[in-house]
């Protein structure tokens, strides 16, 4: 923590590729305020939030409370207007649009709630997609599996999606559970340091839900990835290392509840 404070924001300019050993906190957020118009009322007003390396954090909050917006800020999809947000030791707020896109491509794997896959790509092509946008992840995938295709296959096998007939099917004909596992493989390929899952299990039934979470945990552990798992379903909380109640930390949301 102190190590990070000693480095000025601009000191992270030499930051590149992997960040292991550099930052203790994968996410270090302070004084973030955000509204779509740039003026009050704010959707997000979070004083502080930290996620340590290797942690599996459960971020709980009701739908519409601004969780997804917070994730978009972390991933650099939306620019930060107020406050400080360090991801992997790097201040996201000072990055330009292109740099944020490259940072996301290199370091963050994303899993959405539903419709995670590009309908016109095959299962394997969907998994390999991040390697088309990031040299870092392509290099990591090649190092781990020999080639991007083999690494994609390996991840699919680990997520019980190894059967050839399943892989040959158009992605739109896969069950929701299968689609989510393909999305998980895509989020994990090329070993990104941070995996963000936005309600990935809300369209799965209870049995499949815990099976999916077990698989996700196993793979995050293997790839040494930090996991931020967002859900409104409090029953999942005990599975995680730590739970953050978004309603508690978000002062903007508190006013409404």
């Amino acid at each position: 923590m102190s190590f990070l404070r000693e480095n000025p924001v601009t000191g992270s300019a030499d930051f590149s590729g992997k960040v292991e050993g550099v930052a203790e906190n994968v996410v270090d957020l302070s004084g973030i305020r955000f509204s779509w118009t740039g003026a009050p009322p704010f959707v997000i007003d979070v004083k502080s939030m930290r996620v340590a390396r290797g942690e599996r954090v459960f971020l709980r909050g009701p739908s519409g409370s601004g969780k997804s917006t917070l994730l978009s800020l972390m991933a650099g999809v939306i620019p930060i207007r107020e406050g400080s947000l360090r991801v992997l030791g790097r201040e996201i707020g000072v990055l330009g649009g292109t740099e944020r896109d490259r940072f996301r491509a290199d370091h963050i794997g994303f899993i959405f709630q539903m419709f995670n896959l590009i309908p016109y790509l095959s299962v394997e092509e969907n998994v390999s997609l991040p390697c088309g946008f990031s040299w870092t992840r392509r290099a990591n995938a090649v190092r781990a599996g020999g080639s991007v295709e083999r690494e994609a296959m390996r991840l699919l096998e680990r997520l019980d999606m190894g059967a050839a007939d399943v892989q040959r099917r158009p992605v739109t004909e896969l069950s929701v559970g299968q689609q989510q596992r393909v999305a998980a493989a895509r989020a994990l390929i090329g070993a990104p340091e941070l995996v963000i899952a936005d309600e990935p299990t809300s369209s799965l039934d209870a049995d499949r839900r815990s099976a999916f979470i077990d698989l996700l945990f196993g793979e995050c552990e293997r790839e040494h990835a930090t996991l931020i798992f967002v859900s409104h379903d409090a029953t999942l909380a005990p599975l995680f290392d730590r739970e953050i109640d978004f309603v508690e930390i978000n002062r903007a949301g508190a006013a409404e509840h």
Partner: protein
Amino acid sequence: MIPALAVKSLRNRKFTAVLTLLSIALAVVLLLGVERIRSEARAGFASTISGTDLIVGARSSPVHLLLYSVFRIGNATNNVRWDSYTALASRPEVEWTIPLSLGDSHRGFRVLGTTPDYFEHFRFARGRKLEVAVGKQFEDVHDAVLGAEVADTLGYKLGQSIVIAHGAGDVSFALHKDHPFRVVGILARTGTPVDRTVHVTLEGLDAVHAEQNGIDASDPLAAALRASEDSSTANANGHSADASVQPESKRVLTALLIGLKSRGAALSVQRFVNEYPGEPLTAILPGPTLEEVWDIVGAAEKTLLAVSALVVVVGLAGMLVALLTSLSERRREMAILRSVGARPMHIFGLILGEAAFLTLAGIAVGLAILYIGLPEGNAG
């Protein structure tokens, strides 16, 4: 990465992609097809007459003179006397002359009375000479040479006997039945009004018109003329090879084409004709007058071009609509691509790349249809 995605995305939406592509292709076919027909029409128009330096007719507007003498549209308001013709033909600047006598028809086709000079000197399409496809040029007074279209339409062969009628109409009651002409030649196709013309000798026409005067018995003047000319007409009937069935001095022409020894003399000869003391005449330079006529005809064809340009606009607008409709369907896809690190430029490139591909492929298909489906020359 992005081009590969664009191709796969298009393959996924084959049906709309193919429809869009075809609409662009058809728009291109229409635009270029019209443009080609236009340029061919213009070239064909300009090639109607070539090598002629001056066209002379009775005093009238230049456009009118060109239309009736070259395009066989409309009729002359007045004739040119034979002595005016000989006066002009004997000018030192004049290399050749072609006398033209119009005013008769055969089953809707114009009959042109002329001399063998016509086949010798008339040129079209950058100096091409008339060619006789079958048979020969006329030698005898009652010989006729048909344009290609006349022969095709009426199914005439060599040796066919034809009767010409007075006036240009399709149906005429004044048939010159006693003086049939015999088809001795059929010209090769030219793509000009020559194809739709029946060519006969001036002498043959003289004979016909002498007879015309003869049968018009209700007209006392004609009867009187007939009486005075009886002897020469009888003579002609007995000796059909004799050229002068009617005194040449009484012969009238509709127009004449003049070739000069030097083009530089055109303006001075034109002035001579326009100020000719014997009778009021007009001489025109074919080139500028053709341009003038084209300006009139060209308005319609410009409209056609504008319409096909609009079709292209509609084709592209259709593609734009398809594109914008797909944008809302593809918001999810864009969010996924953004999440794996695609920049806004990538997304823009993907959408634009697909549109560019459809447009280029549409143009390519359109060109293929145009050049394989409508070979050169078919359009004209």
